[in-house]
Symmetry: C2
Subunit: 333 residues, 2 copies
């Protein structure tokens, strides 16, 4: 059952704008779903949306209050509870992607049950999945993969969805993490699926489709991240992607969370992803590079992208600087 939109975005007492990055992602990628923001005293984030109480948001048509703020540990702050109850009282469902579940808080579970509101904990799967079959399925699929975590895989997949739709093509973003799910209202947080069912969950998430249809599947982690590579491989096999887009952040000093461990060379990362992807789609290949060059000056970024494109024989862009037109061209070539 999809999360009903539009949303009231709950920013709580966010200490800074980074703490509200889930809400910021929703406001950026699904502006039509972002009806307003609800901030508590002390909140230092501001998305530039109308400040609405739950009652005002409900009157304006909001269906769900989304917890768009994360605090340390991914838990539901005590200071938020009255605000969450207020949202339920005014007819809104609640959605969150934290480690702690909304329905683990007895007060919230009881109030939601009494009022027949829904609590969406998008991090935990809400259905069982079958074991993957690896059987070929119709439709075209692109998976964003990466040298590391947090290198722009979600952003790139969403930007490709928008680009292909602008060109009049049928295309759907398929969310595999909590922020992506809250942005598009559906998906599976594959890192929370039991090991045996990661590929099966991905086959379910991006099922067979029309010949001309593209699924843009959000990647997770990296085959080179020693903490999470199992998830990345299960996703790669389940995606059965025709094309991969390799995401990276040039100049990042080490793998996320692992000081001293450098990022893999791009060419090695491309080779291993292609080798593994071909188990379920023999035609799979990397179509281009998507780089987060925000730490570089414009001229330096352009030089890095040009050199990388030249070395690998692939288009290389920073989606925020150049857009993803060149990647879309490569997908459709």
């Amino acid at each position: 059952m999809p999360i009903a939109s539009p949303y009231l975005l709950f920013l709580g007492d966010a200490a800074d704008s980074l703490a509200a990055k889930t809400a910021a992602g929703i406001a950026y990628w699904r502006p039509q779903a972002a009806l307003g923001q609800f901030r508590l005293p002390g909140c230092r984030a501001d998305l530039g949306l109308p400040d609405l109480t739950p009652a005002e948001a409900a009157a304006a048509g909001a269906r769900t209050m989304v917890i768009g703020v994360a605090n340390r540990g991914g838990i539901l702050s005590d200071g938020w509870r009255l605000a969450l109850l207020e949202a339920l009282d005014h007819g809104l469902d609640l959605a969150a992607g934290l480690h702690q579940r909304l329905d683990e808080i007895p007060e919230l579970a009881a109030r939601a049950g009494m009022l027949r509101r829904r609590l969406f904990d998008v991090r935990q799967p809400d259905r069982p999945f079958a074991v993957a079959t690896g059987a070929a399925r119709p439709g075209r699929r692109c998976l964003t993969v990466g040298t590391d975590c947090s290198v722009g895989k979600m952003y790139t997949a969403l930007a490709l969805e928008r680009e292909l739709r602008t060109r009049g093509l049928a295309a759907d973003f398929r969310a595999t993490g909590q922020t992506g799910i809250l942005i598009c209202g559906a998906g599976v947080s594959v890192d929370a699926v039991v090991g045996d069912f990661i590929s099966g969950a991905t086959e379910w998430l991006a099922p067979g489709n029309d010949d001309g249809h593209w699924d843009l599947i959000e990647g997770q982690g990296s085959l080179f991240h020693p903490s999470y590579a199992g998830v990345s491989l299960g996703l790669l096999h389940g995606a059965q992607a025709h094309r991969l887009v390799m995401c990276t952040e040039p100049g990042r000093p080490h793998m996320r969370g692992l000081p001293g461990r450098p990022l893999p060379p791009l060419a090695d990362c491309i080779a291993l992803n292609e080798t593994c992807a071909r188990l379920t789609n023999p035609a799979a290949r990397v179509a281009g590079i998507s780089a987060n060059t925000s730490a570089m000056a414009p001229a330096e970024a352009e030089r890095w992208l040009a050199e990388t494109a030249d070395q690998l024989g692939l288009p290389a862009v920073d989606p925020l600087r150049q857009g993803v037109g060149a990647l879309a061209d490569a997908l459709l070539a």
Copy 2:
């Protein structure tokens, strides 16, 4: 908390000896833990152990009744419940590795709670795991990997534990599946761990150890199995193994459960496992081949093993025909 032994092996109403293969594995690999068998009317399996009731087994020192029989669907049969209650009443804990949990049956959970008996559902992890760090740890580790599921990875790891101990070395089998856990009394069924924690669970299962100590880690699935490869890769990274033993079944017509999908060439399977294993242990390499040649005549098996050893430059044995001495030599070389 480890499962207390010795065990009374519950064979239930097993339709044939294959249905009782978990019990057979325990009787073969841990004969000192297999005090007796408990069979219901109609049971067609017989391990050749003394037939004991729970009362007799408890009087003889049994601590746990292990459900060593699986029926279709991995559920607890209605016809077993009185027998399971009888075991609790006579002082035995219960252990099972089925999909359905013992404590999901209210009658069993209530009786166990009242009598302070323990219910071990070894398929589901009983503790949270940290995310893997990939940090180098001391001790020597060998992981059995495979071209497919069910090609002898558990048997080979157990045989290597026995061989190394016979040679006076410190060695421990580390179980990663329900049968292995029930055989040795501890372990983690990694296929039931949430994706993000597969490698972390493996780091916990085979922690740093003395320099001369060997962990023999039971592998799962295959990097080439499109249903389960995520588990295999998470296990490979978490194991941080110095040596791998590649297990296979020559002549198997297709990957388990996937008619039409052939097994990978051994050389490809070795190459990909070595490439991936080196992310967390740069010294990792395949030390030898363990083949289940039971479908071949002895001369044919010997020819296949000799040709394979010659082509790959690695020792190749069938543990049931030649033993694993040559593999142990290769580990220690």
